[in-house]
Symmetry: C2
Amino acid sequence: MTKDLWSDNYASRANGLSASEVRALFAVVSRPEVVSLAGGMPFVPALPKERMIESFNTLMADRSNLALQYSGGQGDPILREHIREIMGLEGIKSNVDDIVITTGSQHGLDLVSSLFLDPGDVVLAEGPSYVGALGVFRARQAHIEHVYTDLEGISPEALNSTIERVQAAGKKIKFLYLVPNFANPSGVTLSANRRAKVLEICRKHHILVLEDNVYGLLYFEDRAPDALRSLDEDGVIYLGSFSKILVPGFRVGYVLAPPSIREKLVLANESAVLCPSAFSQMMISEYLSNNDWKAQIEVFRGEYKQRRNAAQAAMKEFLPDLTTTNPGGGFYLWVDLPKEINSKTMLPRAVENLVAYTPGTAFYGNGTGQEYLRISYSYPTPENIRVGVQRLAKTINEELSTVKG
Amino acid sequence: MTKDLWSDNYASRANGLSASEVRALFAVVSRPEVVSLAGGMPFVPALPKERMIESFNTLMADRSNLALQYSGGQGDPILREHIREIMGLEGIKSNVDDIVITTGSQHGLDLVSSLFLDPGDVVLAEGPSYVGALGVFRARQAHIEHVYTDLEGISPEALNSTIERVQAAGKKIKFLYLVPNFANPSGVTLSANRRAKVLEICRKHHILVLEDNVYGLLYFEDRAPDALRSLDEDGVIYLGSFSKILVPGFRVGYVLAPPSIREKLVLANESAVLCPSAFSQMMISEYLSNNDWKAQIEVFRGEYKQRRNAAQAAMKEFLPDLTTTNPGGGFYLWVDLPKEINSKTMLPRAVENLVAYTPGTAFYGNGTGQEYLRISYSYPTPENIRVGVQRLAKTINEELSTVKG
């Protein structure tokens, strides 16, 4: 490690940056012999490449000088119309003026956090919660308070008591961060009954809700209950993305926010990147205008459902004693391990056995979670998922026999 | 304006966000009858569209599943090799491991600022300085201290005395921000002699230099002196971009930083956007690999030189008494107005006369600059530049007769 000449110059928040446990795996899992159940990569081979080439050709023929130029900080108006329609599928009524397009929904998270989080502020989150969101909150020096979450999603009772406890301690809660549908990492969906209760509790305590719904349209049987945003226009900031329902490589996400917040978001977006990529936005817009994108989402649903089934079948075959969640959509299965096992320290041995996963500790802001692991079934073939789970079972059984001596 | 339910919840930095004066013009200048000398838009009609279509087709045929997928947070290794070569044209020797690809150089600015700026920290900048950088520094609640700048660039003597004054006042200077080549907004280039002096002064006082060089390769006669980074590897963070030398609509910029800073930059980039767009990066990389990109930059040089000549000729024809800078490259001409005139309050009357410019006040962090304005000649045709300057002359003359009664 080089000596850092500028170590006395960093902002205090620079210390909040740390390599995520997921990231540390990237080098390892790219080896072809390793079955990666770690990263949450969409299955892009299922994309209709020919249709995207057509979209590109039309775009370059009709509007190349706009697509290649700088554009507005709020995002392309035609794409925002499409987004309005997409959000409508989950019960959301919105105004295109209140939509801001971002460089992936991750940047939406970063921008919203930049508007609200001062060092020491509290963010409430499910336990477990999306590792990339925890990283953003930590980088803003916020304190993350996890709220008890079960198979129906976050617990309203636990939410209420956590809010009262944190507020009684004199701390400022800036928002509740939720992935209500087919959550990353748990795969759990917040029940309709609890959605109403969560919103009621947040309204009562004047807590803003940050609803991150990038998996909602990837359901396998029943669609998820209507979005929280459909029930509360003023108290919810909604984050969406094209990364999971269409294509991650363009980095296009979106935020729907109450008007006063949206105005600040546009300014924050301009300050951060001047404008999101005109080309990326217009490619997606062109594709959506001229293709049956709902049928394409249906294709993805089929791909992911097949993979979830493979993951669950393999778990039943090779690890029948372990409990997992039962995801009705999305990319992830959350596995409860025997209490003797630490998923973080077990990982190198799993990689020796040519399988990778994400340790549960990545999804908690407080160092807990070692008794869980996340399986991501979104990318490998069903056959490779089975092989991966078999290797995982071997690793767990070896680990158990070592621990039990 | 809607009542803001969440006004008590914002982070303190949210107050630092304000609509730039440049931005407020966007709606106005998009009217086709207005000649806009305001925005700094590259002349994208000069791009080789057929070559870009070829690059796209090759990319989709060979590597579509990589181009459409998530990618690494530091950016595409092949593109980083190209960037290394591009920076070499300005004397920079670099290691690809020290290059980080960003969502335009604006995001590079934002990420570097996020690593270094705490509220109350001081940033030194040329006077005038790039409006988008000032916005980023303000959003981080930094104090901007302008340093006297003349036709040879920033003054070393003024730099030294400013540093001593600010440090004596007990304030922490985090970096010096410079656009050394064909600066935005002044068009001025820092002389070779002063480059060495500026670096020496910064080293003496342990001040980091942030060198923003997005116009350097767009010279009209002589190329600019070697980059500051070529003279100091440890004390300079270098920002570059494809927006001016190739295409802004993909949003691809880059940062070259000392290793310890670069490590933190990659983490900050991942936290903010997970990864820059794989598709955008690979499109540029594909284009650079298979085309004579230096000849394309030469095409741009010709386009912009022709426009600079038109702007200077029109100034001589219609406003012969005014002094301007004499840009040897880039997009901008900086105009010194009669002292009776306030460029900010004059702007609405200019727009009535169907011409737009950017008031000098946009480029100062302290409210000064009303006696200057910026002409951007990069986008309009030479004929329209002449018409625009003629209208500007009419506006200034009307303004003078009003003021003088």
